[in-house]
């Protein structure tokens, strides 16, 4: 196998790793801080993708402003879900089960809302013109758009790290993650912070969907695929662990990209095998949990 093929699979694996990371890190952030497993997180990916289609392909807004708007829209939807619905079941006995059911009902609802508005046909967006070509490094060339997605993913990763570690908001967020009651009695506005975390995380999911829209076709039902992919990622990396999500996403992105080379039909199996191996040998995830950071 020649090295340029390996390199191009490497880059394609990294691209899907970044879109997975954007969803998985939001999932893990919500789990770490809000203490909710947002089963509907993939549906915000779906919303992001359809919002991007609406804004970019239908309304003709430029690509990058459109992507930002789509991400913002998904974040607003996330805040509404948290503020209007999820908030009512915090602290209820057997909360974990209710969380799953409530967020599951949102998968069903959002799936149908998307079908009602945009129909069931495949949708797609053109890549921005400036990124439609290839960028060559010596003998090998990579799709410019893939490189842009990888850069955007890394940018968000560093940005999130900065927000969590270096800002007052991040400090509140870590305090809540460590001890919600204590943080509250020390004057942290817990309800507001929880809503904001939810909004931030769902906006990241939306960003992932918007960035994926030009690469994969947008269809209803993508939400569940994405949530299962991110679930595998966070199990591998360790739920509630931000960098674990990055490591897990890269592992899964690459395993899938190279699996396609060898056994195209069964490529999806490989990520499950990796997950099963992690579960057997390191059930707490590759990076053991250390708070929300």
């Amino acid at each position: 196998m020649d090295s340029s093929l390996i390199l191009s699979q490497l880059i394609s694996g990294l691209t899907s790793a970044m879109t997975l990371f954007l969803v998985a890190s939001g999932l893990t952030l919500i789990f770490g801080v809000v203490n909710v497993f947002n089963f509907a997180h993939g549906s915000f990916y779906l919303l992001g993708a359809y919002f991007a289609y609406q804004v970019v392909a239908v309304s003709g807004v430029g690509f990058w402003p459109g992507v930002l708007l789509a991400s913002l829209g998904a974040g607003v939807a996330g805040v509404v879900m948290e503020f209007v619905f999820l908030r009512r079941i915090y602290g209820r006995a057997g909360e974990a089960g209710f969380q799953i059911l409530l967020t599951y009902s949102f998968i069903l609802i959002l799936d149908d809302v998307v079908k009602m508005i945009w129909g069931t046909d495949y949708k797609s967006i053109e890549r921005p013109e400036s990124l439609s070509g290839q960028i060559s490094f010596g003998e090998v060339a990579f799709p410019a758009y893939d490189l842009a997605v990888i850069a955007a993913g890394l940018l968000v990763a560093v940005g999130m790290w900065w927000v969590i570690r270096k800002t007052p908001f991040g400090r509140n967020l870590r305090a809540i993650s460590a001890n919600r009651e204590m943080a509250s009695s020390l004057g942290v506005n817990v309800p507001l912070t929880l809503s904001l975390v939810f909004g931030l995380a769902t906006a990241m999911g939306g960003l992932s969907g918007a960035l994926s829209a030009p690469v994969r076709t947008v269809t209803p039902g993508a939400g569940i695929e994405v949530i299962i992919g991110s679930l595998i990622v966070v199990v591998i990396g360790g739920l509630g662990n931000f960098w674990g999500a990055l490591v897990g996403a890269i592992v899964i992105g690459e395993v899938t990209a190279f699996g396609i080379l060898f056994l195209p039909q069964w490529a999806v199996l490989f990520s499950y095998i990796v997950m099963a191996l992690v579960l057997v040998f390191r059930p707490e995830g590759l990076l053991a949990r250390r708070g929300a950071s």
Binding site: F37, G94, G97, F98, S105, D111, M116, I228, L239
Partner: protein, 321 residues
């Protein structure tokens, strides 16, 4: 979300009356003379058995499985493949469907119970999706997304009313068996795992062994339900293993009430009727199901039977006071 302390226990004479009434009701359905009711009741019995198998994990043991459809589907495909390829007659194939469900649980269970709580739920979902993916893509063996049509069940079972009584004759003994499991010392351990896994462990009980056993029993009954469905419809499809199917039995159990034994059966009846009615008017049934579930979670977390019981108790309290 875990059930009430008395919910899964027998309640003396009321208990016998409950069973008698349920059996009588189902036995009399064909007298209505409407094939729609017979078909519907048949489906309710099958889905009810499927939902009760789920509730052995959730309502009794406190393990929220989101992958129950894998066991159901594997049971159905056991029947579909063995009959379709002419290897075994229907009764023998049907007997093997719970074996297949139990075997799958024996393979996936040890992996899933390595983690608990939300992780467990998500692992069951992920592995069930894996099984679905294999069935969906393996055209050479399972027929892929064409499914299997025209499963050659014996002609004597083609009559809907006959098959209905066939289902009834299998489902009710299964309900009784499940009840026995719940009320046995083994079942008491399962319930104490639900209430407090840590303390149960302190008693020297190997929790994981019991959880695995619960998964295997649950998988067996789910597999049998799948086998019954394969004989009922005489056609099966990978959708039977899809995660939405797992979600459906969760919804049925929650709606009926996970802390009452017949709750999942009642829930199955309600959901199947709702699906049938909504299906006539709109293709967007998911949003209705999702909306109903959302309302239950927020307003009626104890399900139909639990909420009804609560009303009765409050009313009796008023009368007594």
């Amino acid at each position: 979300m875990t059930g009430g302390k008395d919910g899964t226990r027998a309640s003396g004479p009321g208990h016998v009356a409950q069973w008698g009434a349920a059996l009588l009701f189902f036995a009399l359905v064909p007298l209505s003379g409407r094939s729609f009711f017979v078909q519907m009741a048949n489906e309710i019995l099958i889905m009810g058995l499927f939902a009760m198998s789920f509730n052995l994990l959730y309502g009794v043991t406190g393990m929220l499985s989101f992958g129950q459809a894998a066991f159901y589907g594997v049971g159905a495909y056991t029947v579909g493949l063995l009959l379709g390829k002419g290897i075994l007659p229907y009764p023998a194939a049907l007997l093997l469907s719970p074996v297949a469900g139990a075997l799958l649980a024996l393979i996936l269970g040890p992996l899933c119970i390595r983690l608990s709580g939300v992780y467990f739920t998500m692992l069951t979902l992920a592995f069930a999706e894996l099984v679905w993916g294999i069935v969906f893509k393996w055209y050479g063996f399972t027929g892929g997304d064409n499914g299997i049509q025209g499963i050659p069940t014996p002609a004597s079972l083609h009559d809907p009313v006959r098959y209905y009584y066939f289902t009834l004759a299998i489902a009710f003994p299964c309900f009784a068996a499940l009840r026995r499991v719940v009320e046995s010392p083994f079942g008491a351990v399962l319930q104490s795992i639900r209430e407090n896994p840590e303390r149960t462990g302190f008693l020297g009980i190997r929790i994981r062994r019991y959880q695995l056993a619960a998964m295997v029993i649950s998988g067996a009954f789910a597999g049998l339900a799948g086998g019954l469905f394969a004989g009922f419809q005489r056609s099966i499809h990978p959708n039977m293993l899809h995660w939405t199917k797992s979600g459906e039995v969760i919804l049925m159990s929650i709606l009926g009430g996970v802390s009452s034994f017949f709750g999942p059966l009642v829930g199955a009846g309600v959901i199947l009727f709702i699906e049938d009615m909504i299906g006539k008017y709109t293709e967007f049934w998911e949003i209705w199901i999702g909306g109903i579930m959302l309302a239950i979670v927020i307003f009626f977390p104890r399900g139909v039977i639990g909420t009804f019981d609560g009303w009765v108790r409050r009313w009796r309290g008023h009368v007594g006071a």
